[in-house]
Amino acid sequence: MKASNLAAVPPRPLHACETKSSEFIQLRDVYKSYGENLVVMDHLDLDMRADDRLVIIGPSGSGKSSLLRVMMGLESIQGGTIRFQGKPYIDGNARGKGKPMDYSLQTQVGMVFQHYTLFPHLSVLGNLILAPMKVHGLSKAQATEKARALLARLGLESKLEVYPSQLSGGQKQRVAIARALMLEPKLMLFDEVTSALDPEMVIEVQNVMLQLAEQKMAMIIVTHDMHFARHIATRVVFCANGKVVEQGHPDQLFTQPREPRTREFLEKVLHLD
């Protein structure tokens, strides 16, 4: 049984609360397609509370990464609306007139990617303080102090002056998480951050995410690691063909999925475990 030294399950409610009025995030009727044939988000609805940790699972092309990228503002949607913290965030129906996105809300979302995360021409410190200094106007001293404190919490304080090429994959991803955390986001998005790592480095990154979960950070995670998904999620969302097929508490969804499509997917995926 793997993950024997994964951190403890952070606190979460016994039942996934699928409240209709979630003030934190609301996706309504979101539609996104590439051209005519490739629909990645098909009138998708999703809610999230401020203390939720959503894990999105599903087959490739089901819109999981697209959802994260849209939430981060990396890609646009062609229809539907997204509300964030009770305010309009992204409006897919605004064509030409009206703002398609509220950029002040975008700064409160942080994201960590799968590949090529850190800027190779800057040291770890350089990576961490670039955005706080240039976007939020912190002084170099303030930003450095903050970076030092963050890295200390992640156990990477000694790596402050080191360059990314000298770090292992797991260390790079942990620094990437720290870099996103420097901006104090309200929501963290993780796009398959451990999928490209060697197995022995996956745990250290997942433990950082669990540490964040302890501190009640709202997060949306896309992962193939079902064990970790079950461990960290307050709610698991199964997407296929751009729609939410089923969602629920991890214990319930993994053991007794209601929808046949979910069952079919889980059989394939958990069987490989």
Partner: protein, 223 residues
């Protein structure tokens, strides 16, 4: 081979050779400066959003890449004064021809550097809230320039070699001086071998430096 090498004719010609070398170095250095600076500007034009900026820039690059350097030099020397009714001194003409040629090749080198920056870095910049000009200045350019440097230096060395072509329009560079000494002393083998050695000695250290730089970059920029 019963050829007897005889380098005695060189006595008394060192002054001429040195003058020729100075002209060659001048051509190479100034063309490089022109090529490095203008090449960057041209690259920005080729990457521009607007078609009416991109298209002439691309045409400029294609002209210099798709015609022989010799032709470009000859064209500049004979056609430009006639077309524009100006007289420019030969060395400046040489710099112009070589410099603009280098501009075109360097623009492609810069562009390759920019396009080699992984798209994920752009995503990371958006995720961090950096504005487009900040992305370009702090993330894209530093990486693009670093990866472009080996190619830019290689292009620079190659312009040093191409500068020999200005001998055809009687600019008194090293090649031209060599040719006239060879003809006068009836010693083409010795003269041209020596000239070749000089060009080689000028270029080799730079070429070795480029190799060293590339090795260092491969190690340092492991993404």
């Amino acid at each position: 081979m019963n050829y007897q090498f005889d380098f005695s004719f060189l006595n008394g010609n060192f002054g001429l050779l040195w003058d020729g070398l100075k002209v060659t170095l001048q051509l190479a250095l100034v063309s490089n400066i022109v090529g490095l600076v203008l090449g960057f500007g041209l690259c920005l034009l080729t990457l521009s959003r607007w078609f009416f900026l991109r298209w002439p820039a691309q045409l400029f690059i294609e002209f210099f890449r798709c015609t022989p350097v010799l032709l470009q030099i000859v064209w500049f020397f004979y056609c430009v004064p006639m077309l524009f009714d100006v007289f420019i001194d030969p060395i400046t003409m040489g710099v112009l021809a070589l410099g603009l040629n280098l501009t075109a090749f360097n623009a492609e080198a810069y562009r390759a550097g920019v396009q080699a920056v992984p798209r994920e870095h752009l995503d990371a910049c958006v995720a961090l809230g950096l504005r487009p000009w900040q992305r370009t200045l702090y993330v894209i350019l530093p990486q693009a320039l670093r990866s472009a440097i080996p190619v830019l230096m290689t292009n620079g060395i190659s312009i040093l070699q191409q500068s020999a072509l200005v001998a055809i329009v009687a600019v008194a560079d090293l090649m031209y001086v060599g040719k006239s000494i060879a003809t006068e002393a009836y010693r083409p083998l010795e003269t041209y071998s020596l000239i070749a050695l000089i060009y080689f000695a000028l270029s080799l250290p730079i070429a070795q430096f480029v190799q060293w730089l590339e090795r260092r970059q491969d190690a340092a920029l492991a993404r």
